[in-house]
């Protein structure tokens, strides 16, 4: 029982899981049940009042999901986590704890297109106002801060071009403004980047991508770093003020450095309802066990494919932070020394038509709107994920008309290169 620190791969296999007390089952059982029987009336009251540890109803918590939560919290170096139905649900639940109608949050302009839509339109109807900043210009975050700013949101490796954000620099801005830094770590996974080590206060993921890794289950997760003091100035009443929903409990006072994760569960998940199915939690957990192996292969393949494309005459440009010539190469070396991820874009000399033609000729790459699958994927963002944006916004977010996005899988790299070669060449 020495306080020795197990490595990342050990945590990926073991954290959060133990043999089932009742049956001895070693794999985590799928607790496919809506509800859990109380011992007696007093036990029920204690659970509802947040006074005892235990399960009530799967919309609030489930033992299979809890294993997933603890595992991702351990991999990210957080104090606690909450699994939800999707990455988008994670973002809603996080911001619900932080913003009141009329408040603002600052977001990096380079984001997953779905997040840009969610922030611009859906959140506007809640009175949560997004203010955009440029992740390549840290001062633009500083300029965007107002007294109503409640959070800053960035991606560690940003969609769609795989650019790397200077997390520490943005964290300094957040600290000065007295607001938490939220980092979407989906494209990096904690194997490549652990944002909490660089100053993130909250980490969110689409578990659908590299963590689950097999393209079979939608899910999302929120990790609490335990670093932010919610009590200052009454700025975050969901955490610092007595909650009428729970007989006047103050969450920060009661739960200390995991109060944010508890708020997300008992105020967010409970009342908004985006619960993750225990079956999906099981699938994602199984995926996480091989995350270190898969992620390294994804990165190694991506680098080989990016190098091939960079030397191809039909290719105008390649945006991959793992290439020494790339604008983000130094940031990649600092934040993601094991590899610059497996999602990147390249531009074709033939423009929009060449992009459409390439996608139609590829035989191994699947044309679909996802990333982080074992299989290699291709998409033309301008006509799909980013199609709701106007042309100027497309270019600003790295999804211009000539751009093709790849998500490199774990197949043999020679086969991926051969497929691209035939599709580009003919």
């Amino acid at each position: 029982m020495s306080d020795r620190l197990p490595g990342f791969s050990t945590l990926a296999v073991h954290a959060g899981a133990q043999p089932d007390p009742t049956t001895g089952a070693r794999a985590t059982p799928i607790y496919q049940t809506t509800s859990f029987v109380f011992n007696d009336a007093d036990h029920a009251a204690s659970l509802f009042g947040l006074q005892a540890f235990g399960n009530i109803y799967t919309r609030i918590g489930n033992p299979t999901n809890a294993v997933l939560e603890e595992r991702v919290a351990a991999l990210e170096g957080g104090t606690a986590a909450l699994a939800v139905a999707s990455g988008h649900a994670a973002q809603v639940v996080v911001l619900q704890q932080l913003l009141q109608p009329g408040d603002e949050f600052i977001a990096a302009r380079k984001l997953y297109g779905g997040s840009i839509n969610q922030f611009t339109h859906a959140f506007k109807s809640f009175g949560w106002n997004v203010v955009w900043a440029d992740p390549d210009d840290i001062a633009s975050f500083e300029r965007a801060v107002t007294p109503r700013t409640k959070a800053i949101f960035i991606e560690s490796i940003a969609n769609p071009a795989g650019s790397i954000t200077d997390i520490e620099a943005v964290s300094t801005v957040a600290r000065k403004a007295g607001v938490p830094l939220i980092v979407d770590n989906t494209l990096a996974s904690p194997y490549l980047i652990r944002p909490i080590d660089h100053g993130a206060d909250i980490v969110v993921h689409s578990l659908t991508k590299f963590l689950g890794g097999h393209g079979n289950s939608i899910g999302g997760i929120i990790v609490d770093a335990g670093t932010f003091d919610w009590s200052t100035g009454g700025k975050y009443p969901m955490l610092s003020e007595p909650r009428p929903e729970y007989h006047g409990i103050r969450l920060q006072e009661t739960f200390g450095n995991f109060a944010f994760a508890i708020a997300c569960r008992v105020l967010g998940l409970r009342d908004l309802g985006p619960a993750l199915s225990p079956f999906n939690a099981f699938m994602i957990l199984t995926g996480i066990e091989t995350l270190p192996l898969r992620m390294q292969k994804h990165c190694d393949n991506a680098k080989a494919v990016a190098e091939f494309l960079a030397g191809h005459p039909a290719v105008a440009s390649v945006n991959y932070a793992g290439l020494a010539s790339d604008k983000y190469y130094q940031l990649a070396r600092k934040y993601a020394p094991k590899g610059a991820g497996a999602v990147f874009t390249f531009g074709l000399k033939g423009g929009y038509d060449a992009g459409v033609s390439l996608v139609s000729k590829l035989q191994l790459f699947s044309h679909l709107a996802n990333v982080g699958d074992t299989r290699s994927l291709v998409i033309h963002p301008a006509s799909t994920t980013h199609s709701q944006l106007d042309d100027a916004a497309k270019v600003k977010s790295g999804a211009g008309p000539d751009v093709v996005r790849l998500s490199i899988g774990i197949e043999d790299k020679e086969d991926l290169i051969a497929d691209l070669e035939q599709a580009l060449g003919a």
Binding site: S2, R4, S46, G54, A80, A81, E253, T254, G256, N257
Partner: protein, 194 residues
Amino acid sequence: MNHDSYPDNYIRGILNGVKSIAMVGASPVNVRPSYFAFKYLAQRGYDMIPVNPGHVGKELLGKPFVASLSDIGRPIDMIDIFRNSSHIMPVVEEALTLDPLPTVIWMQLGARDDAAALKAESVGIKVVMNRCPKIEYGRLSSEISWMGVNSRTLSSKRPPAPTQGMRLSLNRMSVGGGETAASDRAAKNKTEQS
């Protein structure tokens, strides 16, 4: 003792070792953290004594309130102080007059008084500050994992099926403090600023 970050073995040793706990500032109001920490520790088999001069003559879960530590009238292993940082010193000073001395003085989540800690440690008393014994017991036993909390422990052993009121094993393999070092650093910065 470095009070910014405690090794798991230090906390484990305390929670495995003590049997009686006097809780100063225990509240009979069932939505106060002191109430449910008291209840949880009693359910896990600790001999709990509620100390609160405002409630003498009443009981907390069947245990009579006493007004002060000196009114307990028998040796106690640990004093758990549920008071603000500014009210810690008098309690520690009173604890130091007890014979025999308690072996542990524990200050709740949010409470920290380094001068009081030093005083207690100078006579050999172990001190924990800004932690909750319920959370630490739940963490080291991994019972708290039910809420998605990072217990920072691992085990490949099959645990017994939990029943009401049983004591849980705290002897799991620790992942160590490093995994939540960010949280400890933040707490330290906060202390230094205040």
